[in-house]
């Protein structure tokens, strides 16, 4: 069989290194429970840190799927405890580079020419690593380009990688295969899209054109002539990634301006276009020397169906949420309550969801919202700690809801995180149609 024949070595070594991780995670748990019994102290955080480090180091050795999944999980606080996120957030910085001869080969395959034939200058080594590719800087005359080149065979190895990651992810979050399938199906679909640079080019051009009227938001230009399925060329933007910009201590005024621009950008995409940039990672936002705010990387884009959009965002209407019957009805529609739940379980979950909605929709409910308010971040943190530790809630609260919510939640968690680290004060409102 075709698959069997072309995979062996490759897949075997990958499998071996992931199995090792699985075994180590088992070991860490043993250590944790041993310690807990011995000391009577709950050292859960140390446990998570141990495991996160080991999982991350195994993932980072593998290009493609696992690294993407690692990054993906790192942003979903629902699924991963704090310690994992910190480890996985490093994921993008540690990809081993493609050799320059391979870059040349890829160019020849895609354009029939080497980089030096096309550009006046082209850096021999990558200036930036991305999880499924790397970025080189190139120039023609006075113009500077960022050229992203994909690792070979990424699209093909993604599926088998995801299959390898699944058992480990199941172990981390304690879910069964059936419960986690919807998650992996959605992730696989998005990841496969990300390997198609032709699609990314189209989306980048379309979404940036539609968003170009937004104030204080800029996008690089994209160059179709120098792009193909495995190479994507865009304008080079000289700027600091958002996290570094924040570290440079900009004024409150600037932080508010850029925070608001970011909020408006997401608001417009989610609520107007219903198609949004689903990767709010600090590396995807740049601030230039003259404080222009640039948004990059439309590799991961999620489209929302109207029905799902309405069911989901009607949760922002507190009048509906505060009415038990109405609220349960909405939760049923979203798959957050299931027919198999007993009436006490329904009640427990209903109150839990109500609390989380009240908490997470708060920025929408007020005219102005201060993301610098540490008590808010602390409240979210406490809430997730409490729900993650409560065995009854943990049992009920995992793997529910629509697959469409995964990337939407991810985008909003990412957005909240970035706004919180910017300590920005923003103005938000609920789209009129949702409260009608």
């Amino acid at each position: 069989m075709k698959e069997q024949r072309s995979i062996p070595k490759h897949k075997l070594t990958r499998a071996a290194s992931l199995v090792k991780t699985g075994a180590k995670i088992g070991g860490s748990y043993a250590k944790y429970y041993g310690k807990k019994i011995a000391t009577g102290k709950d050292d859960r955080n140390a446990l998570h840190e141990d495991i996160a480090e080991e999982t991350y180091s195994a993932f980072s050795k593998l290009k493609g799927g696992p690294l993407k999944v690692a990054q993906m999980l790192s942003i979903d606080q629902n699924i991963l405890p704090q310690a994992y996120q910190e480890q996985f957030a490093q994921a993008q910085y540690s990809a081993p580079p493609l050799s320059y001869p391979l870059v040349v080969r890829t160019f020849k395959q895609e354009f029939g020419q080497s980089p030096n034939d096309i550009f006046d200058t082209f850096t021999k080594s990558a200036v930036n690593a991305a999880s499924i590719g790397q970025v080189h800087r190139a120039t023609i005359g006075g113009e500077t380009f960022a050229v992203k080149i994909q690792y070979p065979g990424v699209a093909e190895s993604l599926k088998s990688d995801l299959r390898l990651v699944k058992p480990i992810a199941m172990r981390i979050v304690g879910l069964t295969s059936k419960e986690i399938d919807y998650y992996f199906d959605e992730v696989e679909e998005r990841l496969l899209e990300e390997t198609d640079y032709t699609l990314e080019l189209k989306r980048s051009q379309a979404l940036t054109a539609k968003s170009s009227h937004l104030a204080n938001v800029h996008f690089p230009s994209y160059y179709a002539d120098f792009s193909s399925t495995r190479i994507l060329t865009m304008e080079w933007i000289d700027g600091l990634p958002l996290d570094k910009w924040i570290a440079s201590e900009p004024s409150q005024e600037e932080r508010n301006r850029i925070g608001q621009a970011m909020w408006d950008f997401y608001h417009f995409q989610v609520h107007e276009l219903r198609e949004f940039h689903a990767d709010p990672h600090p590396g995807n936002f740049l601030v230039t020397g003259d404080n222009q705010f640039y948004i990059l990387d439309f590799g991961c884009v999620k489209e929302l169906e109207d029905d799902f959009y309405r069911d989901y965002f009607q949760l922002l209407d507190m009048n509906r949420v505060l009415d038990d019957e109405h609220f349960e009805n909405m939760l049923d529609k979203l798959g957050l309550l299931q027919t198999s739940d007993s009436s006490t379980e329904r009640e427990l979950l209903r109150e839990l969801y109500r609390e989380s909605i009240e908490l997470l929709s708060r920025p929408f409910q007020r005219e102005r919202f201060d993301f610098g308010d540490e008590s808010y971040v602390q409240e979210i943190y406490n809430f997730s700690e409490r729900t993650q530790k409560d065995p009854e809630i943990k049992r009920l609260n995992t793997a529910r809801g629509s697959r469409h919510a995964i990337y939407l939640n991810r985008a909003y968690y990412g957005l909240y995180n970035l706004l919180a680290s910017m300590k920005a004060v923003i103005t938000a409102d609920i789209p009129a149609e949702l409260t009608a």
């Binding site: 075709k2 024949r5 072309s6 070595k9 490759h10 290009k63 081993p96 493609l98 050799s99 320059y100 001869p101 391979l102 040349v104 080969r105 890829t106 020849k108 395959q109 030096n116 021999k124 690792y151 070979p152 065979g153 093909e156 190895s157």
Partner: protein, 217 residues
Amino acid sequence: MPKKAASKSPADWIEAYVDYLLEHGEAPKSVFRFAKDQGMGEKAFYQHFASFDALEGEIWKGMVSDTVATLDADADYPEYPAQQKLAAFYYTFLEVALDNRSFLLLRFPGVMLVGAPGYMCKFRKAFTDYIKPVLDQAKGSKEIPERGRLNDSYPNLVYAQLLFIIDYWLKDESAQFQRTDALIEKSIALGFDLIGAQVIDSAFDLVRFLAGDRKSN
């Protein structure tokens, strides 16, 4: 019956031979018959090649020399560190080999076996002649450590890697042979890591220790 040509260059003979090989799936029965089919006397064949094996040797050697010629024509190539030179060789070789893929499909994996056909000697020699200066460069730049006589075995190890890559490539069904590209990146990285690491020194040390053990007992 082809028209009688005044003379045939080595390249013409090679082309005719490969055509025959691919159409019939085996070498011609005799030089006499083959030359006659080409409308020539066998003397014209022997003028260039001593045997079919010698001719095949030239095909294999030609793939290496074409690759090296392409590399030498590249402005960036001389500046590459050894590891990248080797990668550039493999990628360029696969481009060249793409013209001969059917021929290679017919000949592999027979050439991988112990007691490979005579024509592979020329291939091996052409490749090791190419790789020796690259490995010397690597030693000079400390990409690989000096290990005395152990270094002498490296050209053969790299040759084994080349055969492994060709074999993988011939079975590769991914788009644009992307999996082979990935294999090249990974196996070169592993190769240089292994050669560079203490692993080999430690293993060597252990073997020497055990060998000494046995002598003293």
